[in-house]
Symmetry: C2
Subunit: 305 residues, 2 copies
Amino acid sequence: MLKVPDHQVAGHHARDGKLGPLIDDSGRFYKPLQGDERGSKEVAFYTSFSSNARIPDHIRRFFPIFYGTQLLEASDGSGLHPHLVLQDVVSGCHNPCIIDVKIGSRTWYLQASEDYIQRSLKKDRETTTLSLGFRISGLQIYDSKESGFWRPEKKLVLGFTADDVRVVLRKFVSSNSPTDSDSELDCSFASAVYGGSTGILAQLLELKAWFEDQTIFHFFSCSILIMYDKEAILKGMSSGAEIKLIDFAHVVEGEGVIDHNFLGGLCSLIKMISEILTSPDENPNITCLQDYEKNHSYLENGTTE
Amino acid sequence: MLKVPDHQVAGHHARDGKLGPLIDDSGRFYKPLQGDERGSKEVAFYTSFSSNARIPDHIRRFFPIFYGTQLLEASDGSGLHPHLVLQDVVSGCHNPCIIDVKIGSRTWYLQASEDYIQRSLKKDRETTTLSLGFRISGLQIYDSKESGFWRPEKKLVLGFTADDVRVVLRKFVSSNSPTDSDSELDCSFASAVYGGSTGILAQLLELKAWFEDQTIFHFFSCSILIMYDKEAILKGMSSGAEIKLIDFAHVVEGEGVIDHNFLGGLCSLIKMISEILTSPDENPNITCLQDYEKNHSYLENGTTE
């Protein structure tokens, strides 16, 4: 019944006998609790969040539904292991295009261990976290039935410069083959995915309004998944564009202060996506793409590397 | 003609033969250029900013007018020294109440020296910079003709907790004597200073809208001065409430990205001031004020310590 998810773009993978998340065919996602305090912190967040009456419904829909915890046979064959039972946020989509954006110019916080702080700070300085206020942690772009997905390797993704991020956010909504770096990106799905009253930008702006006000939680090292269904657009259907927040192992109490770190990064992402909508034809310098072609990992449709 | 300013609440002071700013009686403020690259960076910023046609007038008014640079006899008696010639932003006010708020949860930036980064990071962690996204660098609150100003010492101000900051932002707009910690703060000037269509909150929101869009400059370690004239309110006149951005020795180019660090801190300050306007009667725990009384430095009206 349980299997390894096809469309996981970042985080630990249940491959080659390693511990990682599983899904079932009823739309549930089983995430193994991390052994250290991260696991218990994530359970504590989901428990607190799902019972908090102050979270409005139009914000709650941006979070996976939480069904509780469950002991399951672990994907690494090590026996029973506690798992978070969550909504599988991509279950409705056959060939989803997904970007995982880790939000905030700081992924660490005062309550963390000095070792965690130093490691996080180093990674923040080496990626676009510091410069942009967010970094891309992983992505997949559906190409075609024949070619499957473009899913660049983690090492390449973490090496993205600010310009690379601009290019990827355009590539994400272009009809060009994602590995074709010679032609100009057409951004032909920008308005269907990012634009409109229910598109990605409108959802991010709704989230922003909440973050300008909420002082309950501070979300460190948390990601926004940006998703849509390219095939649906090509068939003239709704893009299914959606955002979901995930990864709450580093959420701390807000103590009456807004999450200015998340909010700042969110505003930076909003500005970058707005610019694609207002200037879809202005291609940034795309020479940085040349390297992608050499390094990309290309996946068959439906395989998992 | 030149004299030491009466109402400087933070930064280097021209006292006891030290190098510091001077003012004249025509409303100009002479800031000595710091010897290292900070001096030249601040001149470069003012030069670039004052000639940049993309800065709208309703934003330009939040910055001191720049008149150029001038060689002047230095306040430390060391001979001629180059000075920035700026608008004296408090010259119109006899007894101004002033808070200097250093904005941003990070006062350092990648282009700075490793030594500067480590020193700044340490101070950011020790103050409310990290937790609130801003810290108070200095303040003065006018009490009365007899008692003059309350101007807490730098060491006390840099030790403020998040709760202390909440209390000080309420104290700033209360008719209570600033050194009286027994009675509840009445926030009786909150609506005249923070509120209204031209008050501090409206000005901060205008600034915020600009920061959501502008990608020209990133303002590290820059302050917002919040000022008003308490005597004017008591006489039934306009409060003269005003914000001014100051201290641009650490401004870097935006490179097409918004200043998410400044914006996040600004939103946090806006939220805290909004709460005073919506709940002027909800006094936070004021036990932290007890220490103030023991430690405060109390100044005669018009003296300079």
